[in-house]
Amino acid sequence: VTGRTTAADISTAARSGQRSIIEIATMALRRAEDADVRDGLNIFLSRAGDYARARARALESDAVRRERGALYGVPFAVKDNIAVAHQQLTCGSRILAGYVSPYSATAIERLEDAGAILIGKTNLDEFAMGSSTENSAFGPTRNPLAPTLVPGGSSGGSAAAVAAGVVPIALGSETGGSVRQPAAFCGIVGVKPTYGRVSRYGLVAFGSSLDQIGILANNVVDAAVTLRVIAGRDERDATCADVSVPDFDGAPASLRGTVIGRPREYFPDDLDPRIAERCARALDQLRHLGAEIRDVSLPHTALAIPVYYIVAPAEASSNLARFDGVRYGRRGQEASRNGLNEMYAATRVQGFGPEVTRRILLGTYVLSAGYYDAYYRKAMQVRSLIAEDFRRVFSGGVHALFTPTTPTPAFPLGSRSDPYEMYLSDIFTCTANLAGVPAMSLPIGRVDGLPVGGQLMSAHFDEARMFSVAAALESSLGPADR
């Protein structure tokens, strides 16, 4: 089996005994090795061979999971900033090289409980800070569709693992678009759930008011089923909401009566005309499926990048204070001779790469005495205005919003050296993180052979609506457009 088998197909075949789980896991491990060793894509930071084979053997004789596990026998990959017991957890950083996690994230426990099998931990921009996976201390991942291009980031390894056909589903994490942007660049589906929908216990914290575990998949149904498995209250994460998890099925439905907003700020005059054209086609399809397309405005959109790049680094500077060479990870070389403070300073400057150092410094600056009000407090006030834009549109009868996911298709490795230019990759995605609403990207066609992502957003905890619109659009566009 090559290419993109769906999770649903694998699970059905495994449950009926048509395919052995050990064979499924072995094939996924072989594809993972081929993708990295033969094809040089650098997708995995570690492959979980023994772990996966042991899990597969245990599942083979597990009658309960065979009957009930929604992802029985489905191989999956996970971004290497999410903890899995006994597996390495590097966050793409030298400071955690060699660190092995002593526990598993709640999302991992729920996937494994549903019968899914971990194949490996995927590459990422260091501590999820980046939009291309080039900031990994362990080298960039290449886009499986065009290996001279980036896969996007920061969940570039997870997106590439799905796009290369290694696994049908993978977990990533989002702070400003880190699942949706690589999904768009790799031609797959990427979902950022509502803030609070999925437990973050075991996700290494970056920006705590923004972070959310997300899903990469080949199609809308697989993403919806995976979200249903990992979503829901977890007493180990105080920000995980006590909201019931509906039976997302991701099946296409008629869109009659559905109002889809087209926010004008996401279609600026200088938008790549090829992307604008694909979006116009998708909006035509949505109209054809019965939806009403309504022009709307989210007037504070242009302020999202400045707000995001104050809030996220501020929170990161606090969250990353724990990496100091005392309890875990690597202590700086020659660091212990001059006392504790020098050990901290040496460990951190040797352990963190340039982008992480830049953001810690930026975050510390905007939180420091004399600058807090001008930057951080101001950004959090403007963030309220951005969130209010969404609230107003959704309470005014709009069920979902449709926009491009990214302003450009995948770009060449090494082509963006200016930090702020890279930050602009998140221009259409970071608003959903700032407002906490759910959002997803799905393939809506290609330009010059490269995939284009269309983004759907809906109101807080209304993923069901987002999935039904996405599934309808996905089935109407058909395989030729993906």
Binding site: S209, R236, D324, L340, L361, T364, K378, G436
Partner: protein
Amino acid sequence: MPDAITVDEVRRVARLARLGLTDEQARGLAHDLNTILEHMNVLSRVDTTAASEYTAARAVMPLRADHGPPPVRPLATLPETFAPEMRDGFFVVPRLATHEDAEP
């Protein structure tokens, strides 16, 4: 918005962030931060007199009853397997600087 950030300012913030920068790194970061913060100046022109600071929807994130945290599950591996240096169950660190060798 505040004035441009100097290299000395970068060194001061790096000390707060416990980052031991070289001079070359400090110069490069002063340039980067000034470039980035220039793009942030647009925020100072936004009228936020009626805006409160953003908070997430706490209503759906209930606080737990005040009877201690969830039970701690045993770790799959002990800290000795991942800590840089341990002795008798304690993390070992270099000595703190004394008054004599503290920075003036």
